[in-house]
Every structure is written in C-alpha cells, then in structure tokens.
C-alpha cells in the first residue's frame, strides 16, 4: 500500500507530552526558524516528500557514502540513514554552542599540556591522580613532549543534546579521532540537490568549506622550519568503519590518503613512497588510534601504523593531529571534571552544561548506582560509538543483575548518568510512511590551529531511529539530518 496522496507532511504527526520538540512549541505553533520551511513544504503530500527523499538517498549510495557496523554477523556496507527534513538552529543558540565548544576544547588542550608536563591540576587536588594512573590512554611516552604550537586536540567532536528543560548539555567529548564530519558535508550536498529552492529563503552558513579550513589549520601546525608542508591522511584501511570519511577528507583537502605501509621513517623523518621516489611528509592527520600508530612504541604486533613514527614525532620532525595521548582527556571519567578544568585553566564559568555523572570508582557513588540502575544510563569509560551502554529503564530484571555484576567486578570502567530526555525532531519513518518524533543530538566539530580556531557552523544531527531510543550513534542504528545554522 502506497502512502496516502492527500496526507500532508504533518497531518498525522503526534506530539507527546513531556518531550521537547525542536519544530513545534508547547502550544503547537511552529517555531519561527522553521516557519518558512513549513510554508514552503507543509502543504505538500507525503508522496512528494518520499519521492524527494528517495532521490537524495540514491545519490548517497551512488557516491558510495557508506559505513560498516562492527559485531554484525557479516560485515556489510550500509548507507547512513538520512532524512531530508533539516534541523535548523537559531543564530543566538548557535552562539552559545560555538562559544561553549571552543571554551571546552581550549580548556582540554590546557589540561593535556598540564598532565604531560607539570601536572598542576592533580597536585592542586582538582583531578584525582587515580584517573590518570588507571587510564590506558595516559601515555608515558608523551611526558615532556611539546607538540607543535602546543596543540594536542586539533580536532574535537563534542556531543551536545538539548534536554527537555530547553538547555544544551554536553554528553561527551571526543578528542581522539572523532568521525562523522563527511556526513555533514554530504548531507548538505544532497539537500542542496533535492531542495535547492529552499536555500533562497534561508541564510544558512556553509559547511562545504570544512576540508579547506581544516587543511589550512593543519598546515598552520607544521613542524618548525618547514615552509610549505606536505600533509597526508592516514587510515587503518578499507575495513575501518569510517574509511569513506578518510578518503573523502583526503580528496576534499587535495592530499594523499595513505595506509601505514605507504609511509616509512628514516633518520627520524617520515616519507611517503611515490612512483617518483620518497616525498617527505610534515603533517599527518591520523585516523589510527594511539596504540596502533607505531609498533616500536605501542602495540608491537600492529601493522596498521608506521615503525619509527613516534620517534620522528618526538623529535619534532612531523606533526600528528590529533597528538598521541589525547585519549586521557576524553575518558568519560574525566568528563565529570571538565567544568572544574574550565574554571581552573581559563578562570571562566562553563558555557555549556555537563550532565551529572556518578563515578562507580567511588564506593558511595557505586552504591547509589547499584540501587538506582533503573533510573540511570551506565556507560563504559573508554568505549566510543555507543558500544556497551546500558539504559536502566529499558533493562529486564535479569539484565539489571548482569549489569550489577559487571559494575562490581570493575567499577573504574563505568560511570552512570541520569537518563536525559534528548529533544525530539520530526523525522520521516519509512515503515510508518509518516513523520514521527525521534530523539536527536548534535555533534559539533571544533578545530584548533596556531592562534586560530573554529567550530564548523553546522554539525551532525544524529537521530535515534527506533521510537523512544536514546542512542544516536550510527553504529547503533542511528540516522542523520542536515543541520542548518542561520546567519544573524
């Protein structure tokens, strides 16, 4: 049965009590930033919408914009579920997000410098030493190393949600190899194709210049003494879930995409093998995790990295972005200290709020968590991609007991947070052939360079496609929306 031709886009849209809807106010009125969009498309039929949406989707598939999910029985390329209906952010709200994301990234950069040098924040009793000494991402080898321009977290992905109270909260900081930015750009490209007329009515900041700006900043953190740096993107290879993004960014920046075996190190300089002979490499945008970048220094049996790369880095002959060892600052146990970290280094109040977090490593907090599992989200401190998360109110009694056993066995590995009610956004659901409310978050991309920084004016709005689901990661069945940041 096909969709009803006289059904308009929102004719069967149900707004649930207690959820914060991004498009409709409590009174049911359309919020001002969406008004124009609804004026233009609100009276169109669902059929029209589906036609447009399918066109956009096929353009994704044709461009090969796919990802893989780990742990599937057979690994398979999927297209990232995409929904044409954009999320629109008002300039005033964006200003808060932008300032808040930069503030966080700068403070975390100060934190990284400090924990790899004087460790004042620990000696002053703000951050407990145990959080560092128990973190596998706190790299002994980075002690006293001065990264070029003193920058560690060149690229940060900050995950932000809007709670039902209407305020933005940071859910987590990703400062190892945050991914997803290629979807931001491809979403925009697809939307411009499908809905080109709309962009005449909205003054939206562009996102398609991201790669150019990124290259600019990567070049600004080149090693001292290099005039025009050669940059490369290094990928673990085509079996990595974000391989599409690695190749996209390399192509968009106009630099080579390499794997470990395409590079070699000699006399502490890094070279790329080419048909014209070796070419010296100065800046490596690396999408390989710390422990795999150099088998001489880290996991000895990894062939993903480049032997000798770390020695070249330590010597200052090559820049790695992000710097090795950033993982110590995006550990979810460190997350709780970010407001204190901001105050300590910047002497400022945090602009973006943190979600209250319980540390299972503290006996009294562990006790609270064990007694209130059904009201909490339990997260492993060092996993990315939404793996290993348990949402208390979705667990059966049996599962709760299993979680308790895990928590007691390894309390340092877990934190817990109250279940936040992420805002919802009208999202087209294929199976229902209609728009429904779905929870969303926003991943922003902040880039730090030599004396300059920017937040990509847009970001990845991730949608939890299952009704009521709060986990938005693409690896957990999430989709995405184009995100428009309006000009003032």
């Amino acid at each position: 049965m096909g969709p009803d031709t006289d059904k308009t886009i929102f004719s069967s849209y149900v707004r649930k009590e207690g959820l914060f809807d991004e498009v409709f106010g409590k009174d049911g009125n359309v919020k001002s930033v969406y008004q124009k969009l609804l004026d233009l498309y609100g009276s169109r039929s669902i059929d029209d919408y589906v036609t447009l949406n399918n066109k956009a989707k096929s353009s994704f598939f044709n461009q090969g914009i796919t990802f893989q999910v780990y742990g599937d029985k057979q690994s398979q390329e999927k297209i990232f579920p995409f929904d044409l209906f954009p999320r629109i952010i008002d300039p005033k709200e964006w200003e808060i997000i932008e300032k808040g994301a930069i503030q966080r990234s700068l403070a975390l950069n100060h934190f990284l410098w400090d924990v790899y040098h004087d460790k004042k924040i620990v000696k002053d009793g703000i951050v407990p030493i145990e959080l560092l000494s128990s973190s596998p991402n706190y790299l002994h080898q980075m002690m006293e190393v001065d990264p070029p321009s003193k920058i560690y977290n060149h690229i940060s992905g900050t995950d932000i949600i809007k709670h039902s109270d209407g305020d933005y909260y940071v859910l987590e900081d990703n400062i190892r190899c945050p991914s997803g930015v290629s979807y931001v750009i491809c979403n925009r490209t697809a939307l411009k194709r499908a809905l080109f007329g709309v962009f005449n009515h909205y003054k939206t900041h562009t996102v398609t210049d991201y790669a150019e700006n990124l290259l600019n900043l990567l070049e600004s953190v080149k090693p001292p003494g290099v005039d025009s740096p050669v940059c490369v993107v290094i990928t673990p290879g085509m079996f990595n879930s974000a391989y599409y993004e690695h190749s996209y960014l390399a192509k968009a920046m106009g630099v080579e995409l390499v794997e470990g075996r395409d590079l070699f190190v000699e006399n502490d300089f890094v070279y790329m093998k080419t048909t014209q002979g070796p070419v010296r490499v100065d800046v490596v945008y690396r999408r390989i995790d710390d422990l795999f970048i150099d088998p001489m220094e880290f996991h000895p049996d990894s062939t993903l990295g480049v032997p000798g790369l770390f020695a070249a880095y330590r010597k200052g002959n090559v820049t790695l972005a992000n710097a090795p060892g950033t993982g110590v600052a995006d550990d979810k146990a460190i997350y709780t200290y970010v407001p204190d970290i901001i105050k300590y280094y910047l002497d400022e109040e945090p602009i973006l709020k943190n979600v209250h977090t319980y540390h299972c490593s503290r006996p009294d907090e562990l006790q609270y968590v064990l007694e209130h599992i059904s009201e909490l989200v339990i997260k492993p401190v060092d996993e990315a991609g939404g793996y290993g998360i348990s949402i208390g109110n979705k667990l059966t009694k049996e599962e709760i007991e299993q979680v308790k056993v895990k928590l007691k066995a390894n309390p340092r590995k877990f934190v817990a947070q109250p279940i936040m009610s992420l805002s919802v956004h009208p999202t087209y659901i294929d199976q229902k052939e209609s728009f429904e409310q779905r929870h969303i978050d926003l991943r922003t991309y902040t880039v730090l360079g030599q004396d300059k920084q920017f937040v990509l004016k847009g970001g990845l709005t991730r949608v939890a496609l299952q009704e009521g689901n709060l986990i938005v990661n693409s690896s957990q069945g999430g989709g995405s929306k184009d995100t428009w940041v309006l000009k003032q």
Partner: protein, 288 residues
Amino acid sequence: MFYEYEIDYDTQNSYEKGLSEAFWQFMVIPEDNETQEVTYWHFENDLGERNSVSENGLGFKTVQVRSKQVIDHIKFNAHFKLKKKEINPFGFDLPLNLEDELQILNSIDFKVDHEPYLRKTSLTTLPEQHRDIFLFDSDKSIFENLTDLNYWTFDHIFFKVGVTNVDTPLAEIIEKRQGVCQDFTHLFCAIAKYNGVPCRYVSGYLHQGIGFFGDSQMHAWAEAYVPNVGWLGFDPTNNLLVNHNHIKVCHGKDYNDCAPLKGVVYTLGNNETKYSVLVRTAQEQQQQ
C-alpha cells in the same frame, strides 16, 4: 677511578621465507649518566643499510635499520667503549627518619611526580593471591626494606634458563620459583610498587665476575626511588646493589619498554633470533 669497558652486541636473525621489507630497532646503546660515558660506538649490519641513531619514547637511544631489499637474514653488530666510575653502593646519607619518609611517599606531589613508575603493568602487578608475599616492615627504612626485598627475591627464585619467557605471568614465576633476570626484576618491581615505592625496570650489560648470573646476554635489574636520595639500583638476580659492573642501557615500566630488539617484518614462515653479548675490561682485552 675509572673502569674502561669494551662491549660487543652481536645478533643474527634468520627468516625462513625471506622478507621484502623490514624495520628493526635495537636498544643496546649504554646511556650517558653520572657514572658512565660512552666514548666510542660503531654499528654494522651486513645488509649495507644505514644504521640511524634515534630515541625511543622515554628518551633512550636506539639504532634503527630499515631494509628495502629481499633478504633472508640480518646480522647486526654494535661495538662500544665505555668509561665507568667506581660506585659506592652506600655512598649516600640516609637522612630521614621513618615517619618523614612515609610522609613523602604518601604525599600527593610524590605520587604525581612518580606516577609512571608507580603505575602497574601486566608484568609488574602482584597477583591477588600473592599480595602479601612480601610486605614492607614499617619499623625499617625504605632502603632497608628494599635491601631485604632484594635478598628475598634472590632467595625465592631459582635462576634457571628456559623455564620462562618474556610473556610468563608473574603468578607462574612466583609459584614455580624459577626464572631469569627479567623475572627477578619484574617480581622486585611489582612488590616495591605494591608497597608504594616507585620502581623501574633496567636493561643493561653486566660485566661478569665469578659466580654472577647474567650469562652472555643482556642483563636486567631494578631501580627504586628512595625519598630524598633518588633512584638506587638493585640486582635481585645476584643479590647485589648495582656497582661498576652494571652498565645501564635504558629503563622503563617493564621489559616491554626495554626490549633490546624490536622489529616489524613482513613475512610468512618462521624466524630465528640469536644474539650474544661480550663485556670486557680494557685489562682483560690486553690479556687476550
């Protein structure tokens, strides 16, 4: 007074199926420190490839060799001349009373400054069931406790080659009571750290006197940090405090930070590694 040493490190690695690309890193160069100074070094490999001197992540010198040809073996030789000072193992004051020592050990600044060598690794974590195998005596100074631990380790483990390897877990070493210098050192480090004393694994050469264990191989011992004194060397394999016969190459959290040879080779099939070490004083040299 100075001792003058000559050291030879020789290795041969053979690869059954041959290699088209390989990278080796040797951590065999003695460090320059207050008690020793390298006056000459020479490296040679039979592939005709460049021997590049670099540094590892903790700042110790390495030699790197990269092969770009199809080969089935590499021979590598390092030759050093070194001057070593006489060391008096007791050449320091034990200035503090026990209370002050403990106070320093428990202070946050101390724990932060020495975090890397208080951090437990898989090779230096005491197994749960052996936590109390050697507890420090609160009526003795840290130094006395460490000396006792040195003797205890020497006494507890019987030196035997071929029973353990670099991956043998500590529990097995404690239970079998057999092992080589690495095992003695890991056990010493694990116990010192468990008692709150920073401790690191040292790799180096031992000039063998009569009856010392150490063989014609790289040797391993430990350095522990005594408040207000600094790092002191303990050789639990021989129940010695380190002296002029111990020539240090590098230190780290455990063996994995100090492996004399690391390599990345792209090959199928087996490989075989042989190496030998010869340490002589200049006098011995003349007698030959």
